[in-house]
């Protein structure tokens, strides 16, 4: 995982650990919870984009599968929260494999197209299966999470829960990157042919990373459903998939820390853009375009580079 990363994770843990002691407002805590949930999905996407060189335009669907599995199974069928959580992961894994196995064996960016289609199909299903999902008006009354009688209701308890999961997945992702698999993936990103020549099974690695990122999204979906206790299809639309992709791009693909930063920025931004509510699309468009044109490596790398440049200068 590397010494610097270990130190950074440690600092992040301390910062997050003391956060609720200083900020008690439920509003800020819930924003932090949403950042955590988004960060989980974006970390998976960042692994997929930065290390396997593929984009997904349908991750909101896996997010939705996690959320709806938790919601429907606990509300309608009386499953325990744990079982529903694993059902969501199971379903996401199956779906991800069904898309990835045929498309990732092909050269090029067919995955992007397939996930775009998949996302829209899932969105239609959420809307149309009225008896099960509640249709466009949504599903409410999802219970909050409790372990052995300890309830995670209330801002700061849920804050710790979400960020514990997020940090565990962060450590896991960092470990993957600095392992044999991570090196293989970076080789794939650099040159598929060269990687293949060195004995890396390219399509198998890509499929594994895609499935892993789908599982991340599903976990985030479950956490979302039990926090908000109400879900409706609009939370899982194409625009959300694109927003998640934007978080990766803004943070910088290929850097897990960048992913965290991207998730943070794009979760806080809509809150501060409340003033010009209707023009949020325009603002998103301008920001994304500017970053792509002037900092194609993302804000994280861009800032690091300019810091280095400044140090050299003075």
């Amino acid at each position: 995982m590397g010494k610097e990363n270990r130190r950074a994770v440690f600092i992040l843990m301390i910062c997050l650990g003391i956060f609720p002691f200083f900020i008690r407002s439920d509003y800020y805590l819930s924003i932090m919870i949403f950042i955590g949930i988004n960060a989980i999905i974006v970390m998976g996407l960042s692994l997929l984009m930065g290390y396997a060189g593929q984009i997904s335009l349908g991750h909101a669907a896996f997010f939705g599968i996690g959320a709806y599995c938790s919601g429907v199974l606990t509300v309608k069928l009386g499953f325990s929260i744990f079982t529903a959580f694993f059902c969501g992961i199971f379903l996401s894994t199956i779906m991800a494999m069904a898309i990835a196995i045929p498309t990732l064996k092909l050269k090029g960016h067919y995955l992007a197209v397939a996930t775009l289609g998949f996302g829209e199909i899932i969105y239609v299903i959420f809307n149309e299966l009225l008896e099960i999902t509640g249709g466009p008006s949504g599903l409410s009354g999802i219970p909050s999470i409790h372990f052995f009688g300890y309830s995670f209701k209330g801002g700061w308890r849920y804050f710790y829960l979400v960020w514990t999961v997020a940090i565990l997945l962060l450590i896991f992702s960092l470990n993957i990157i600095h392992s044999r698999i991570g090196r293989a993936l970076r080789a794939v990103h650099g040159s598929e042919v060269a990687a293949q020549a060195m004995g890396v099974n390219v399509s198998q690695f890509k499929i594994q990373v895609f499935v892993l990122s789908a599982i991340y999204a599903s976990v985030a979906g479950t956490l979302y459903a039990h926090f908000v206790t109400f879900i409706s299809p609009s939370t899982f639309s194409l625009f959300v998939s694109i927003l998640l992709l934007m978080m990766v791009v803004i943070g910088g693909g290929g850097s897990i820390w960048g992913a965290l930063l991207g998730a943070g920025i794009l979760t806080v931004l809509p809150e501060s853009l409340r003033a010009f509510r209707d023009f949020d699309i325009l603002v998103y468009g301008i920001i994304l375009m500017t970053i792509l044109l002037f900092m194609p490596e993302g804000i994280f790398k861009g800032l690091t580079l300019s810091l280095i440049w400044m140090r050299k200068k003075w």
Partner: protein, 297 residues
């Protein structure tokens, strides 16, 4: 209404929507042919076509034969500006980055359209006034003939362009191997600029002819792009006539599903087809495996 005339009605609706998908698919095809980029902002060109036409003919009261070419020119300019300012500076970036840039452009275009026109849908009067025609019990609006006729004209023109003209042939050469093309004296950057302008123009035509039938608003682009893309992949990306047939197949299946099964599943049909095609014959119905192997996408 008998079942026959009902089905006939759905077939005509399907053909109309199908022509729009064909035109959007052809737009994808042109940019893909020159650059191997999948331009996900293709649907926004259609949206701009419709909305600018509304502005010129309804607000400024320009006659049809002035408004039509003017709209196409304006949207072509938008396409060219987009290429110059977003695609051109990133010419050394990976294909992945370029595809993301087109997503960014799509969001930006939608934002601009909403800034100018707001969220309301706009309508245009039909090109030729008059009561609908009845064929076999099905009601067909006169605009349908405009849509079908325009598609036919576009198909003939693009086929001639890519098959017979030197610019068209040069553009196809760029897609197979830009390096080799430039060695043969083809100005690759110019070809890419032309391809963006052309494909924007095509999108604008689609937007202009469909607006009198189905209204137009700022948010129409993404779905049109997705469907047009399905059409292109179904027919075989890179194969002009395949893309057009793909568009008609998607349109027909969609309208028959909406009419005979359930209208809510309409949007899923195209995408289910897309997934099937990607699984079983990724080069498309009319595409050849050999050709798709030597291309980047």
């Amino acid at each position: 209404m008998s079942l026959f005339s009902e089905i006939l009605q759905f077939v005509f609706t399907g053909l109309t929507i199908g022509s729009i998908y064909s035109m959007v698919g052809l737009g994808f095809n042109i940019i893909y042919n020159a650059t191997t980029i999948i331009n996900l902002a293709q649907g926004e060109f259609v949206m701009f076509g419709g909305l600018i036409m509304v502005f010129l003919t309804v607000v400024l009261k320009f006659p049809l034969f002035v408004g039509f070419p003017l709209t196409v020119i304006v949207v072509m300019a938008i396409g060219a500006v987009f290429e110059r300012f977003a695609i051109h500076p990133l010419r050394n970036a990976s294909l992945l980055t370029l595809i993301i840039v087109t997503i960014a452009a799509s969001i930006l275009f939608r934002g601009i359209a909403m800034f100018i026109w707001g969220k309301d849908p706009y309508s245009l009067p039909p090109f030729t006034p008059g009561s609908p025609v009845m064929i076999g019990g099905a009601v067909i609006m006169l605009q349908t003939f405009w849509v079908l006729g325009t598609t036919l004209a576009i198909v003939v023109l693009t086929t001639l362009f890519f098959g017979k003209t030197i610019v068209g042939k040069a553009m196809s050469a760029c897609s197979f191997n830009p390096m080799a093309a430039s060695l043969m004296g083809i100005h690759v950057r110019k070809m890419i600029l032309i391809s963006f302008a052309l494909s924007a123009g095509l999108g604008a035509v689609a937007g202009i002819v469909i607006t009198p039938m189905s209204l137009m608003d700022y948010d129409r682009g993404p779905m049109l792009a997705v469907k047009g893309f399905c059409a292109a992949v179904l027919g075989g990306l890179g194969v002009g006539y395949g893309v057009v047939l793909g568009g008609f197949i998607v349109g027909l299946l969609e309208s028959l599903t909406a009419g005979l099964i359930h209208s809510g599943f309409k949007d899923a049909v195209a995408l289910v087809i897309l997934l099937f095609i990607l699984c079983f014959k990724p080069s498309g119905i009319f595409g050849s495996e050999e050709v798709s192997k030597i291309k980047k996408f």
